[in-house]
């Protein structure tokens, strides 16, 4: 699939070559030297992605196994943040927005949304580090946010934890230019809680997705886009391309990090109608593409074939395993392929073709 980003890259190869060949010959500059210079320029342009990849900083991803919702999640998350080079001092006095997934809660499908226990645990970590913590979400399929909070068990957790909640669907908004520019959207209206946050913590549920294959920390940030401007569902984003807008939103947001609820995940017809898949995992990392790429591998998916990860690679962060520093558990020991639906647009995504279900 070509995107404006890929087209710009291809164009730059031609421009570099043309520039070299159009260069005027200074006195004493012979044709052989000119050919050598042209060849070097072209080779340089073609080698650009490899150079970019080599220069892309390695990103850490922490994985904890054997996790339970009634376990010591606060310690796990705290350990994960420290292992991925965060320090308590950097959060002191900062505004931290925890963004769980409450897309369409149902009491009968807890595998659909982020478990409140994970959110509470993360809140305590950041609060203990001196941060000003708010939980925020803009459910994409329901307008009654209070219903989403109650049905998903989050309201009780917010009350118990005395945590403020920001309804991202209904706040005053401000325009931010699209820094990703993979889609045709010139920018986004973000709610003020998002724009005022120093850190946005994407707290997704690890799930399959029937259109893009998977939804973890990057796709979860669709929930920072307000329904009051974009609708329920946020159809403007779909029309502009789901992978492109996932990439663009992530590129346009203030600093983000990921804490993933991978304890009871969703496989099959995600992100709504799939089945529970217990995995017992928590993933933490400062770079959402790296976290999602690791999650993909654990789910038995090829991250390079997840369209929004392919867009993000080496632009927002690495997805190549050689550029991801594994902390805690090794992902290779945790792979349990997730069943995904058998649809043409998802073929080639799973490492195990036998897990596609109709």
């Amino acid at each position: 699939m070509t995107t404006p980003a890929y087209e710009n890259h291809n164009r730059s190869v031609t421009i570099a070559a043309n520039k070299a060949s159009d260069a005027q010959q200074p006195a004493g500059f012979d044709r052989r030297a000119l050919l050598i210079a042209t060849g070097a320029a072209v080779a340089g342009a073609i080698g650009l992605p490899f150079i970019k990849r080599a220069l892309t900083p390695r990103q850490p991803v922490f994985i904890a196994r054997n996790q339970r919702y009634d376990g010591p999640l606060q310690k796990t998350i705290g350990d994960g943040l420290l292992a991925t080079r965060f320090t308590p001092q950097q959060f002191r006095g900062k505004r931290v927005l925890l963004k769980p997934n409450l897309v369409e809660p149902s009491r009968t499908s807890p595998q659909m949304t982020t478990n409140p226990a994970v959110v509470l645990a993360a809140a305590e970590v950041f609060r203990n580090w001196g941060a000003d913590v708010t939980v925020g979400e803009g459910p994409g399929h329901v307008r009654d946010t209070e219903m989403a909070l109650v049905e998903g068990g989050m309201q009780a957790a917010l009350d118990d934890g005395r945590l403020p909640f920001a309804d991202l669907n209904y706040q005053q908004v401000a325009w931010t230019p699209n820094k990703g520019r993979a889609s045709r959207l010139g920018g986004f209206y973000f709610p003020h809680s998002v724009l005022e946050a120093d850190y946005i913590v994407s707290m997704p549920k690890m799930k399959t997705h029937h259109w893009v294959g998977m939804t973890v920390s990057m796709k979860n940030l669709y929930g920072t886009i307000p329904g009051i401007v974009y609708g329920w569902p946020k159809n403007v984003l779909h029309h502009a391309g789901i992978p492109e807008t996932v990439y663009d939103i992530n590129a346009s947001l203030p600093r983000s990090l990921a804490i993933v609820d991978g304890i009871v995940c969703m496989e099959g017809d995600g992100p709504i109608m799939g089945n529970p898949k217990p995995m017992g995992l928590i993933l933490v990392g400062p770079n959402c593409p790296a976290v999602d790429a690791t999650a993909a591998r654990i789910m038995g998916l090829r991250p390079e074939n997840v369209s929004y990860l392919a867009l993000a690679t080496d632009r927002l962060g690495p997805i190549d395993d050689s550029h991801i520093e594994q902390r805690g558990e090794r992902w290779q020991e945790l792979v349990k392929p997730f069943r995904i639906i058998d649809a043409p647009h998802l073929r080639g995504l799973s490492i195990d073709p036998g897990v596609q279900v109709s």
Binding site: E104, S106, H141, V142, R143, D144, E146, M147, V150, D167, Y170, Q171, Q172, V173, Y189, H210, G227, I228, V229, Y230, G231, W232, P233, N235, V236, H238, H239, D269, I272, M273, I341, A343, S358
Partner: protein, 314 residues
């Protein structure tokens, strides 16, 4: 089936809610700037309670933010979308009815005369905007269970038609006397098309990639409001009423409870415990500094068949 008449008792919670709603145009939270949807619903709740003059502050605010094209954005000076136009138009159309005009003093009547004052809501322009706003059609596909060729109303122009903007636009056109307009008729067909086979609806998808989706109370309630009075021979109407009856309860959150009750009431299926549930929801939400939209909807639901959303759209 004719709607049965029930007396309205102005209980203390309703009085308290109306006093708060009357004080100012409303935002989504009390501390926040005014917004179109809560202001329109607050206006309707005041009108339904007979406090038409008190609703004028809200209607004047809506008129002031109406664009020359006739539409209303969710917030003033935000022109990305205009879906609240339908709600604002419904409120303005109801307030323009002769029975409300007669109750005014001459001064109030001047302010309320639609179209004669720059500060008045332009119903004609709003009507034209609504009739011209169309949802984008899509080719029918086995990936989706609904008829993508039916034209309703989108959340944002240039995107597909969805359930709630279509339901509200149908309500607004009915309030304008355009019940038989082809757009209203097609809107009704779309609303029925998007009902799930087992009853109820959600944001507007039925089956996606072979999987039937789940209903939600709030869009089901709004849809049934818009379909009240229609002669529809489709079992999903009854199934949707059953879904609401079996789903809403004393624990249902205020917005969903209100729309659920309004949908049932419009079809003469109001639960016996409705008044208790509404008061309990008010008490719960008042503890959290009830949002204006929750208060307005609770009051509207408490008005029963006298609610303007039922009285002037059936």
């Amino acid at each position: 089936m004719p709607l049965t008449t029930a007396p309205i008792t102005l209980t203390s919670w309703i009085s308290a809610a109306l006093e708060r709603l009357a004080s100012t145009p409303c935002g989504y939270h009390w501390a926040e700037p005014s917004a179109a949807e809560p202001t329109a619903l607050a206006a309707l709740s005041l009108i339904g309670a007979g406090r038409v003059a008190a609703a004028q502050t809200h209607l004047k605010w809506l008129a002031a933010v109406q664009t020359p094209e006739g539409c209303i954005a969710p917030f003033a000076e935000l022109n990305q979308s205009a879906w609240p136009t339908a709600q604002a138009t419904f409120a303005a159309a109801v307030s323009a009815r002769r029975e409300f005009q007669r109750n005014f003093t001459a001064e109030a009547a001047k302010i309320n005369r639609i179209g004669s004052n720059a500060a008045c809501f332009n119903l004609s322009q709003a009507s034209q905007w609504l009739l011209g706003a169309v949802g984008k059609t899509v080719e029918n596909s086995p990936e989706f269970g609904h008829n993508g060729q039916l034209v309703g109303w989108p959340w944002v122009l240039g995107t597909h038609s969805w359930q709630e903007p279509t339901a509200w636009s149908v309500l607004a056109l009915k309030a304008l006397g355009l019940t038989d307009h082809p757009r209203t008729r097609e809107g009704v067909r779309l609303l029925v098309d998007r009902l799930l086979s087992t009853g109820g609806c959600n944001f507007g998808n039925t089956v996606v990639l072979g999987q039937k989706l789940r209903p939600q109370v709030e869009p089901t309630g709004v849809t049934l409001l818009a379909l009240a009075g229609e002669q529809i021979n489709d079992p999903r109407i009854e199934l949707s009423l059953q879904y609401l009856s079996e789903t809403i309860s004393a624990e249902t959150t205020p917005i969903s409870l209100s729309y659920g009750l309004l949908g049932l009431t419009a079809h003469n299926r109001r639960p016996a415990a409705a008044e208790q549930w509404l008061e309990a929801a008010y008490q719960r939400t008042a503890k959290r500094d009830a949002a204006p939209i929750s208060l307005a909807l609770l009051v509207l639901a408490a008005q029963g068949i006298e609610c303007p959303l039922i009285k002037y759209a059936v």
